[in-house]
C-alpha cells in the first residue's frame, strides 16, 4: 500500500481546463471519495492518476515515486470501471488471471491467487462462466476481483456501483467498505452519489468545474462546508440558502429580507457577518436545524408552505422564504397543508453564513 499525492494537477483540453490546480494527499490506507456534479472532472482526475490520460502540468506521486511519465502498468495501480470492463470472451477465471498473465507470473502462482481472490469475493462457483452469464452484481465482483489479485499499491474506482439497482448498490457498498477495512487498501473512489461518499469514505474531495472545493472528512464537510457550492451539494435534501442583507436595528446587527422581516443574530454570528465583503449575506440552514411553528414565537420568521412530502419517518416541508425555497423536516404527526402560514425558527448555533459576493463561508475568527 502507498500514499498518493497530487500536486497542482492540471489537465487542459484545448482551452478548456478539465482539472484545475488540484492538490491533495491520500494517506496510506485511506479511502478517499471524489465527488462532484457531472462533468466536474472526477473521471479525468482518476485517469490522470492511472496514467490513462497524459497530464498537462503538475505532479503525481504514488508511494515514493513521481509517476508523471510512467505507463499505467508501471504505476502499481488497479482500476475498477463503471461498466466493469470485463473481457467478454474470457471466462471469469481468465478475467482474473489476465493482469497476472500480463505480468508473466508462473502458472501455479496465478492459479493460487485467482482462487484466493475468488474465495474472498465468494465467487468460486462462477469461475468457469463468461461475463455475460453473470448478474450485474456478480460482474461487479469480478471487476473488483481483477483489481484485487494484483495486490496493487492503490485502487482506483470510477463509479463502480452506478450501474447497479438501489438494493444491490447498498449491499456492494458495504462489501467495498469491508474490502477496504480488511485490506487496509488505499482507495480513490469516484462517485457522484454523495451518499456513497459519506457512508464509505474516510475523506471526501468535493470538486466543481475542475476545481477542488473542499477536502476533508465527510463529517467535517457536512458540518463546515467551505462555500455555498459544497453546502448545497452535500446533504439531502439540500441545505436551504436564503439571500439576505446586513443592516442595523436598535443598535444591533440583523439580517433583513426584501420581504420586510429581519433576523437577529447571536454575538458569534454577528462576528461572522462583519467579515462579509459587501452587505450581501446568504443564510444556510439544513432541514433538521430549522424549527417549524404554527404560530409566531420570538425570533421566528413568517413563511408560506409550498409542498408537503411525507416519507413515513419524517415529513419534508418546503416553504417560500425571501425568494428561496426552504426545506424543513418535521415529525410525521405534525399536519401542515400547502399555502398554510407557518413560522420558521433558525438555530443560531448550527446556521451557516456565506458571503453573498464571494460565496465563501464566513467564519468567526
Amino acid at each position: 500500500m502507498a500514499h498518493v499525492v497530487l500536486k497542482d494537477l492540471v489537465k487542459t483540453y484545448g482551452n478548456f481546463k478539465a482539472v484545475n490546480d488540484v492538490s491533495l494527499t491520500v494517506n496510506d490506507g485511506e479511502f478517499v471519495a471524489l465527488v462532484g456534479p457531472s462533468g466536474c472532472g472526477k473521471t479525468t482526475t482518476l485517469n490522470l492518476v492511472a496514467g490513462l490520460t497524459p497530464i498537462t502540468s503538475g505532479d503525481i506521486v504514488i508511494g515514493d515515486r513521481v509517476v508523471n511519465d510512467l505507463d499505467p502498468k508501471d504505476r502499481d495501480i488497479a482500476m475498477v470501471f463503471q461498466n466493469y470492463a470485463l473481457y467478454p470472451q474470457k471466462s471469469v477465471y481468465m478475467n482474473l488471471a489476465f493482469p497476472l498473465q500480463m505480468r508473466k507470473l508462473p502458472r501455479d502462482e496465478i492459479d493460487k491467487k485467482v482462487k484466493e481472490a475468488a474465495r474472498v469475493l465468494d465467487m468460486t462457483h462462477l469461475l468457469e462462466r463468461k461475463p455475460r452469464e453473470l448478474s450485474g452484481g456478480q460482474q461487479q465482483r469480478v471487476a473488483l476481483g481483477r483489481a484485487l489479485v494484483r495486490d496493487p499499491a492503490v485502487f482506483l474506482m470510477d463509479e463502480p456501483l452506478s450501474n447497479l439497482d438501489a438494493k444491490l448498490r447498498v449491499q456492494m457498498r458495504s462489501e467495498i467498505k469491508r474490502f477496504h477495512q480488511d485490506l487496509k487498501a488505499t482507495i480513490i473512489y469516484v462517485t457522484h452519489d454523495q451518499l456513497e461518499a459519506v457512508t464509505m469514505a474516510d475523506k471526501m474531495a468535493v470538486m466543481n468545474g475542475g476545481f477542488l472545493q473542499q477536502y476533508d472528512s465527510p463529517a467535517q464537510v457536512f458540518a463546515h462546508p467551505v462555500n455555498m457550492f459544497v453546502a448545497s451539494f452535500i446533504g439531502s435534501p439540500a441545505m436551504s440558502l436564503i439571500p439576505l442583507e446586513i443592516s442595523t436595528a436598535n443598535g444591533g446587527t440583523v439580517l433583513t429580507s426584501a420581504e420586510g422581516w429581519s433576523l437577529g443574530l447571536s454575538p458569534r454570528n454577528v462576528q461572522k457577518v462583519t467579515k462579509a465583503t459587501t452587505k450581501k449575506v446568504v443564510l444556510g440552514a439544513r432541514h433538521s436545524t430549522i424549527k417549524l411553528h404554527k404560530s409566531a414565537v420570538p425570533g421566528s420568521i413568517p413563511a408560506k408552505v409550498y409542498t408537503v412530502e411525507p416519507t413515513g419517518d419524517v415529513t419534508f416541508v418546503q416553504a417560500f422564504l425571501s425568494g428561496a425555497i426552504v426545506n424543513v423536516s418535521v415529525p410525521p404527526n405534525i399536519a401542515v397543508t400547502p399555502d398554510e402560514r407557518i413560522w420558521l425558527e433558525f438555530d443560531q448555533e448550527r446556521m451557516h453564513l456565506f458571503d453573498g459576493e464571494t460565496e465563501m463561508a464566513l467564519e468567526a475568527s
Binding site: L52, D71, N83, A85, Y87, Q89, M102, R146
Partner: protein, 319 residues
C-alpha cells in the same frame, strides 16, 4: 391494420392441439395475401430460371440447333464435366482465385483499417484515396490494369527495364504461370477497400473502456489487440470474409475483360468458363450443369453467412 387483425384472428382460431402448417397459413391468410404479389414476382424472376437451368442440365443441346431440339441425357452432362481435364483446371483456378483474393484482401484491408484507426494528419484524405479502387467501375479498372501490365507499353515493364532489373518487359498476362497471380493482384487492389471499410466500422465499436482496462492490467499494444480488439472483431471478420469469398467466387468482369480465360485456360474460373460454354460455344446443357454445381456451392457459403449473422444477433440479444 389488417395484419394486426390477421394475427388476432390467428390467435383466436389456433386452438391448442389443432395446429399444422396449412392451418397456420389459412389462419394467417390475410398476411399471406399481402405478400402474394411479391412471391409471384419472385417465382417468375428467380424460381423459374433456377428450375429451367436445372432442367436444361439434364439435356443435350446440340450447338447451332434450336433449344427445342434438345435431347434428355440424364446425368451425362455432369459426368462429362467431372471427368474433363478442363473442369479440374478451372476448379483449381477458382480456388486459388477465391481464397487468394479473399485472404489477402482481408488481411490488407484489416491492416489498413488498423493503420487508419489512429489519429494522424491527412487521415481523411488517405482514407478517401484508398476507397477509390472500390468505387470505380470494374470494367474501367480492368482496362487500366491491362495497360499497366501490357508487355510493350505497360508502366510496370517500363519501370523494371528502366531500373535495369530486366532486359525485356515481363509478360504478365500472356504467360500461363503469371496470368492468374496478376489478375488476383488486380482483384485485391479493387476489393481490399471493402474489407477496410468493414473493419474500420468494426474497430469503432471496440469499447474504449476495455482497452483502457487492458492497459491498466499491463497489456502492451500487441496484447491489447490480441486480447481485446481481435476477439471483438470476430463476427465482423467472419461476415467480411464470407462476403468477399462469395463475391470472388462469382467474379466475372476482371478475368473476362482482361484475359477471357486465356492463355490456354490458365485464367479461367468457373463463372467465365460457364459464360464461355453457354454464350461462346452454345453448350447450354453443360453450362447449366456447371451452374447447378456452382449454385450448390454458393448456397453452402450463403448458409454459413446467414449463420454467422444470426449468431451475432443471438449473442447481442443474450448479453
Amino acid at each position: 391494420m389488417t395484419i394486426v387483425t390477421g394475427k388476432a384472428e390467428a390467435r383466436r382460431k389456433l386452438q391448442p392441439g389443432r395446429s399444422g402448417v396449412l392451418r397456420n397459413i389459412w389462419a394467417h391468410r390475410a398476411d399471406y395475401a399481402y405478400v402474394l404479389p411479391a412471391i409471384a414476382v419472385m417465382l417468375v424472376v428467380i424460381a423459374y430460371p433456377i428450375y429451367y437451368t436445372i432442367e436444361l442440365s439434364f439435356y443435350k443441346t446440340p450447338p447451332g440447333l434450336q433449344l427445342r431440339d434438345k435431347t434428355f441425357i440424364g446425368f451425362d452432362n455432369y459426368t462429362t464435366i467431372l471427368t474433363s481435364e478442363v473442369f479440374w483446371k478451372v476448379t483449381w483456378n477458382t480456388l486459388v482465385w477465391t481464397f487468394g483474393s479473399t485472404f489477402i484482401s482481408f488481411v490488407l484491408g484489416f491492416a489498413t483499417a488498423l493503420a487508419l484507426h489512429r489519429d494522424f494528419i491527412g487521415r481523411g484524405v488517405l482514407r478517401a484515396i484508398l476507397i477509390i479502387p472500390w468505387v470505380i467501375s470494374a470494367v474501367a479498372a480492368s482496362y487500366i490494369w491491362k495497360w499497366i501490365y501490357h508487355s510493350d507499353f505497360g508502366i510496370i515493364g517500363a519501370v523494371l527495364v528502366g531500373l535495369g532489373l530486366t532486359d525485356r518487359p515481363p509478360n504478365f498476362i500472356d504467360n500461363v504461370s503469371t496470368v492468374l497471380p496478376s489478375l488476383i493482384v488486380v482483384n485485391i487492389w479493387r476489393e481490399f477497400p471493402f474489407a477496410m471499410i468493414m473493419m474500420m466500422a468494426g474497430l469503432q465499436t471496440v469499447p474504449d473502456q476495455l482497452l483502457r482496462a487492458a492497459k491498466v492490467d499491463g497489456a502492451n499494444a500487441w496484447q491489447r489487440f490480441w486480447h481485446v480488439t481481435f476477439p471483438h472483431l470476430r463476427n465482423v471478420s467472419v461476415v467480411t470474409i464470407l462476403l468477399l469469398a462469395v463475391a470472388n467466387f462469382n467474379s466475372f468482369i476482371i478475368p473476362w475483360i482482361m484475359t477471357a480465360g486465356g492463355p490456354s485456360n490458365a485464367s479461367h474460373i468457373w463463372i467465365t468458363h460457364i459464360y464461355e460454354l453457354a454464350f461462346g460455344r452454345q453448350r447450354w446443357g453443360v453450362a447449366s450443369a456447371y451452374s447447378v454445381l456452382l449454385f450448390l456451392i454458393l448456397m453452402t457459403l450463403g448458409y454459413f453467412y446467414v449463420r454467422a449473422l444470426s449468431g451475432n444477433e443471438r449473442k447481442e440479444g443474450g448479453a
